[in-house]
Amino acid sequence: MRPFLRQTLVVVRKELKDSSRDRRAIFAMIFGILIGPAVIAFMVDRLIDRERQAEQVRLPVVGAEHAPAFVDWLRAQDGVEVVAAPADPNRAVRDGSEDVVLVIADDFADRFRRVRAASVDVVSDRSREASRPKVTRVKELLTRYSSEIGALRLVARGVSPEVASTLKVNEIDVSTAQERAATILNFLGLFMLVSSLLGGMQLATDSTAGERERSSLEPLLVNPVPRAALVAGKWLAAAIASMVAVVFTMTFCILLLKRVLAPDIGIRVSIGPPQMVNMLIAALSICPLAAAVQACMGIYSRSFKEAQSYMGILTTIPVMAIAVVSSLYPLSSQPWMYAVPMLSQYMLVKSVIGGATPSVTAFVITTTVSLALTALLLVLMTRLFRSERIIFGR
């Protein structure tokens, strides 16, 4: 084996061993790996919960005595439970103790008898996202009752109910549980990227800024090893840690979705081994670059603390940028996106999850850009590592 490669691997082995005993590194890695599955589990749980909520409506009714026939009809509907209303319906909804309250007007019976529109109030809080499916269900019930009675009245007068309906609106909801699950799956790409940043972060910082801070850098540099081999070893160790984190994140998220959650919401997670391989190729291409940026910042920082604050910024910016870009371009993938690291990996993973096979060109551009930037950073790091100002502090 060539001496350069052998020495690089000696450094890689040492840094990985050292880092595997570093509580902070282990914690950051575990956090990075588990945050994804935890959030996904939470989101799926909410999804299931909401569907159940819309089906099972507990409906407080004020003034039920004014419209016993109507209330009986409500009771007869599937999943509807009519209960006693709170004293102050508006307040009960505002403070969240009820999602929706139905208020039947005092003159309901009177107007109903005189064939006039009888009024019912639906008290709800529109700003509360969570109560929306329930409110919609209640409104649908009211519309149905209204049109059923209306039709009966027309029939009683010898008029076809169709006369009164100009439009026959059929609402076809194309959003299936499968698709709602897909929005959750899209987060998977983001989680893989976050764990690529968290996985190697502590190792990259500790082996560069940390090495200098505990003054173990000078004795290390006394060894007859080219600076480029030291840089390559430290970078490669961080990249390996980052890759391990990404692989685990993906595996855990998919296992969680397939084994535990999919049967619960009755959806099929159509991600098999070929998709997983594509996702890994896409996401792993960010790891060398993430490790290179982190190690470079570590070398450049004056102290371990300074390096850590850079790492915080480094982790936040791409995630926020992806959130912004994906809200600006919700569906389309613009060609330029494949030239932007992080964003390109995110787009690739997203389209694989969406069932598409991204073009080979997209993969090639993504990987080439990341590796080219990595190479550039490695050259820069080697330069920095040769500078006496950097080695002995400024």
């Binding site: 001496p3 052998r6 020495q7 000696v10 450094v11 040492k14 061993k17 050292d18 005993r21 570093d22 090495e211 505990r214 003054s215 173990s216 850098l217 000078e218 004795p219 290390l220 540099l221 006394v222 060894n223 007859p224 090893v225 080219p226 006496e388 080695i391 002995f392």
Partner: protein, 245 residues
Amino acid sequence: MIAAEQLEKRFGAITAVRGLSVRADDGAVTGLLGPNGAGKTTTLRMLYGVMSPDAGRISIDGVDAVKAPQQAQKRIGVLPDGYGLYPRLTAREHIRYFGELHGVTGPRLRARTQELIELLDMTGLADRRTSGFSHGERTKVALARALVHDPQNILLDEPTNGLDVMSTRTVRRIIRRLREDGRCVLFSSHVMQEVSALCDFVVVVAAGRVVGSGTPDELRAQTGRESLEDAFVALVGAPTEEELE
């Protein structure tokens, strides 16, 4: 054998080393003696290849250390000024890491590591992580990893600084043993007892220059002083205690 001629090193406006020449022979202990800030550490850093001189030549066993620092570094073992250890690695892992970086592997590395652990009385420490080590224990680890590749030349920057009596004795014992082995030992110090106890040859440095050199006896004779300390003070250019009174 280490030979440096006319070394120069500037840091911005400050000239730390100006035209310094030093020579350390095999089978001898050479002391670089000087007050704090005289340029001892900078000189050693140039000799062991982590700083490059602005001018001058360095030869390690005939290898040009300025042109081929890594070739020269293969022939030296160094105990630098600040020697940080990795708190999560054991003493043995430290020695092995540096051995591997020098290309020592397999049974040879295992045997050499064990030999050094025994030589430095570290058997009880060898497989403990270094995070709780005392200063003396840390020095032993640093010394062992500096010697793992069995170097011909050994450079030590203030090796006994802050050590207790027992550890100081261990370090002295190692230095004498290296001399008996025919190695070239160069160490810096500002402690007179250290230099007089160990050195065959002394180079006195002040303000980046050599102000005197020779055996301790020669230095005393040159300056006409009875103790090495007075000789040193005279060479460095400060008034002696008697003159102060």
